[in-house]
Amino acid sequence: MRDVAIIGVGLTKFGERWESGLRELMAEAGLAALEDANVESKDVEIVYGGTMASGRFIGQEHVAALLADQLGFKNIPAVRIENACASGGSALRQGYMAVASGMYNLVAVGGVEKMTDATSTEATTALGGAGDQEWELSQGITFPGLYALMARRHMYEYGTTVEQMASVAVKNHDNACKNEYAQFHKKFTVSDILNSKVVADPLRILDCSPISDGAAAVILAPLEIAKKYTDTPIHIIGSAQASDTLGLSDRDKITEIKATKIAAEDAFRQAKISAKDVNVLEVHDCFTIAEILAMEDMGFYKKGKAAKAIEDGETALNSKISVNTSGGLKGCGHPVGATGIKQAVEVTLQLRGEAGERQVKGAEIGVTHNVGGSGATSVVHVMKRYN
């Protein structure tokens, strides 16, 4: 196996991008990544594209070939990866394996979702497909509903409060204010969150990540040649993925995401690190409760202890550990297929020292955590600055 590095990153602004369709978003992020890596379109050897539900949102399938087409990657293999909300992270891992295996040297990985062309009810239905269509969605158990069921049980078993969940949103919106690519640049208070509209009790609209348009891209290369392209390669030192039952009630516990526990343990073992070594962390906060689960399941806090620590500010920017500096899915936005790649872009910028106002001081090791559905897929990557 060869060591793999990120040599270039690109991002679109996330949000309601009415002027841009799916292909424009992909091309914008892809071009930015090529420029950042100083790589020509013709040099890219294979492309992986992550998107969850382009067919449901805009009626377009076969998105990887379209990505290759629009970026001038003439005739190279193009592969779409769909793993619900973890499509981006899963695509990144495929790209990582393509380089690590020795089959390809220059690999492009993109993630995209164009969601705002659909109505919010259509989007709710499309996103519900991330859970079990036959036994959850068909009964009107929506995607926020699944996380609401997890939140309610977590509150019952561990005394987690709605105020503590709200504090996740407050923190992530604070961070988003410092990110020019973020969908929202607005601060919220705990009371704003608790007074917002109920979506699936106990989750309110400001506990939920938004409907967003956006794309993100990275260029990967073997570490041994990475310095040819950039002075600041980011070394991927751990890459792991796990799955679990699609249906929530088929699991032994709903107060943890077991796939995250397994993927984090594997990625940390590969990277030879433990949770205390991590300086910057992008976790999958599709709902506020999800960030609490992630911090526990990845081993940053014992089960039942993360909510209070977050409320106490331990995960704010430049505190004990900086979590979701981009604003997370909550504040930066959640164009589903793009999210896993955006997390890698943010950690890359942080480790390069290019994150501007939201820079984590002395960031050496960063982690990304991307979840699909209610936890049927989890992907964890560990990254390190390469000097």
């Binding site: 068909s138 019952y156 088929d250």
Partner: protein, 131 residues
């Protein structure tokens, strides 16, 4: 999404009568039923099992923003029920006005779930009601 009548029909036994299954190799019970036991793999010996539907509320949520098919029935309460006979099962909980809470006893009942427009198919399903 428009559903075909076949997709409804092939699940009727489970949706109407809460028929799941049991792996007689290890004793684990499942609802919804599955072809292969999660733990036993090729050694699975699956046998149909009708659950009586009694149990207690394990978690619940009142859904205010529904999917397309349920846009006329929101808000409605859904939950996960821990059946006395083993498995956790997801379904609607009928709130009789006294509220729903974790640990509350419920039993299953045969109810109308939703309708495809005025002239379309009517979907039936078990729901949970207070015991």
């Amino acid at each position: 999404m428009e559903r075909s009548s076949a997709s409804l029909w092939r699940k009727i036994n489970s949706r109407y009568n809460m028929v799941g299954n049991e792996c007689t190799n290890c004793g684990k019970t499942y609802f919804p039923p599955r072809l292969i036991c999660k733990d036993c793999g090729r050694k699975s010996k699956m046998q149909s099992k009708k659950f009586n539907g009694a149990g207690e509320v394990y978690s619940y949520s009142k859904i205010h923003v529904p999917t397309e098919a349920f846009k006329d029935s929101a808000p409605y309460t859904v939950g996960i029920i821990k059946l006395d006979e083993g498995p956790l099962v997801e379904g609607h909980i009928i709130d009789d006005g006294k509220g729903v809470n974790i640990g509350m006893r419920v039993k299953s009942a045969f109810r109308r779930m939703d309708v495809d427009g005025e002239e379309g198919l009517i979907y039936y399903h078990f729901k949970f009601v207070p015991e």
